[in-house]
């Protein structure tokens, strides 16, 4: 459900803005400027704004703080001590339990998640950029139909596709292999749609004409000109695909029965189920669910922080066109 669009360019402005009647040229406001002198925003409303933002900030961060604190506790302290402050520091003991569980299968889940999200999203982005370019800058028979199918498929519930796909994959003997999760990750109509929008915004047709006149081949134009110019948009597509794959639940749950191919999400969910049913087991399931949850935050948060500039400056639905 997390879907967005971004401008192909690295700016806050919509890609194609036409000046409306009497509209003044839009200005990009720098980070530090204040409203013009003489029309100051009243102090009282500035304070109200800050209070509101701080409240929202607390709401956003407090649950994560709870996770951070709780990951350092054992089960007894989880129940008996204040959830928002530290007790006996048991993080390393929890981590040891996590990596000892079934010969370190958690590490396997981590690598699986990275494989599905990483490789899956790289291929997803590559296919989408090529298809988006083909749809944006060429005419060919059947193009309208393809566009219609791509956009229409946004409305199809994923369950309607995943179940028959499961049956097809099981006929091909692919269920319970990494391919059963990877192949659906490769293909995203929404990525193609975004790639088309970015290409329209970033690649002027005149540029392609000039390159052709200079004798550049089509593949070379795509790889050396188009891919470079839509790199920001491509990064956004990669990021969205990565997040979607990392969060995926229905697809891996349907396709993967054997624990060795699971994702972190699926593994932690399974531990949660165990923590409710196997109360007497030797493993402290509640503690490892929480510490495991904290570990599974790290890769996703790291990718997002590293790629921060793409989603924080590029995101704008204003650039999406029908």
């Amino acid at each position: 459900m997390t879907i967005l669009a971004a401008t192909g360019k690295d700016s806050d402005q919509p890609a194609a803005s036409e000046p409306g009647p009497g509209a003044v040229r839009k200005q990009r406001r720098g980070q530090g400027d204040e409203p013009a002198v003489g029309v100051q925003v009243p102090r009282s409303s500035r304070i109200l704004v800050l209070v509101g933002l701080v409240l929202f900030l607390i709401y956003s961060i407090a649950p994560v703080w709870w996770l951070l604190v709780s990951a350092t506790k054992n089960e007894a302290d989880l129940i008996n001590t204040n959830g928002l402050w530290f007790a006996e520091f048991n993080l390393f003991d929890n981590l040891r339990q996590i990596f000892a569980y079934e010969d370190g299968i958690f590490l396997r889940w981590t690598l699986n998640s990275l494989l599905y999200a990483g490789v899956g999203s790289v291929v997803n982005t590559a296919l989408a950029l090529a298809a988006g370019y083909g749809l944006a800058r060429f005419t060919f028979p059947g193009k309208k139909l393809i566009l219609g199918l791509v956009i229409g498929s946004f409305l199809i519930p994923y369950a309607m596709l995943t179940l028959p796909l499961y049956l097809l994959f099981s006929k091909l003997g692919m269920v319970n292999t990494v391919w059963a999760v990877l192949i659906p990750t490769f293909i995203s109509p929404f990525s193609v749609y975004l790639a088309k929008v970015y290409t329209e915004g970033a690649i002027p047709p005149e540029l392609l004409e000039a390159a052709r006149i200079d004798g550049a081949g089509e593949v070379r134009i795509f790889l050396q000109i188009v891919v470079r110019m839509v790199a920001t948009g491509g990064a956004t597509i990669f990021l969205l695909s990565f997040v979607a794959s990392w969060n995926g639940f229905f697809l891996p749950m349907t396709m993967l029965q054997g624990a060795e191919n699971w994702t972190m999400t699926l593994g932690i969910y399974n531990w949660l189920v165990q923590s409710m049913t196997n109360a007497s087991a030797s493993t402290d399931f509640t503690a490892i669910v929480i510490a495991g949850a904290l570990l599974s935050v790290i890769p996703l948060a790291a990718v997002m922080l590293v790629m921060q500039r793409f989603w924080k400056s590029g995101v704008s639905l204003g650039a999406v066109k029908s």
């Binding site: 459900m1 879907i3 806050d12 402005q13 409306g20 509209a23 003044v24 980070q31 500035r46 800050l50 509101g52 933002l53 900030l57 956003s60 994560v64 709870w66 996770l67 959830g83 090529a130 298809a131 083909g134 749809l135 944006a136 800058r137 060429f138 005419t139 060919f140 059947g142 193009k143 199918l149 229409g152 409305l155 199809i156 369950a159 596709l161 028959p164 796909l165 049956l167 490769f186 293909i187 109509p189 004409e209 052709r212 795509f222 969060n247 639940f249 229905f250 972190m264 999400t265 409710m276 949850a293 599974s296 935050v297 996703l300 997002m304 639905l317 204003g318 650039a319 066109k321 029908s322």
Partner: protein
Amino acid sequence: MVNVDTASRPPRAVRPGAAPRAAPGHRTRRVHGAPRLSGLLFTAPFLVGFALVFLVPFGYALYQSGFIERKSGSGFGRAVTEFVGFENYVRGLTDPVFWQATFRVVVFAVVQIPIMLLLALVMALLLDAVTGRKTRYFRLGLLIPYMIPLMVGSLIWLYLYSPRLGPLTDAGRQVGLEVDFFSVDLLWFSIGNLLTWGHVGFNMLILYSALRSVPRELFEAARIDGASELRIALSIKVPYVRGTLVLTGMLSIIGMLQIFAEPTVFRVTSPETVTSNFTPIMMIFNQAFKAGNYNYAAALSVILAIVVGAASALFYRLGNRTQS
């Protein structure tokens, strides 16, 4: 499908369908010397995958929904698959369990999405009102929930709500309230809060980006005319991002009607409240993998697709009508 072009323009300029009609001629015109099949070749790798992962399963689901697998004789004999036309659809359309589940998520979406979008809008307006370095820190902080994997977000709230571990029940007790977040009455509130927490920041970011494209001069002019900040927000900024709101709302509806992961996590702790057929997708999953009735599951998923399509079309109509 979506004309989000409206987002980037002042509301007065919005005439549905006016701008895009003028544009395509320019944008898709054939470029000099472009070989006719190149476009198709660039699109081909995706198309092959799209056919495999979308078109074939789609057709297969439609095909399957026309059959029923019957066990012959005492139930130990070989199963016979026979074509039954619309029998699965008739069963689905008259299945009260399915419609209860659908009704549940529709009501939930009607309450949840406006609340979440309103909060996102308020956050975006507040963020738009601060200047300088503060903007960066607040924006990053408000987006932290988006960096938390969905499963982890669900787990965090599951534990926060839990009377055994969570601080929320204790806090309620201290002010004299006995709250059970997993009770029938509060369950949707609990899931709604979890969804709001996870998604509000992202929707805020989209709305904030739209707000940044409002010409700043408009505000100064309004301020000189003596308009209050609140008035500026309501009369200038909000109308400006209406198109974006309609779009984010529509995407939220599509997602919300297909909700699966969050209730499935909640089912772990409260299986009596969150039944196995709690949402349409949970029921479809259940029919396919617990009851082993793929044919019926396929028919249900086709019906759900129609519901999702109808709901988003209706919302899009309503959203655009209020605009003009």
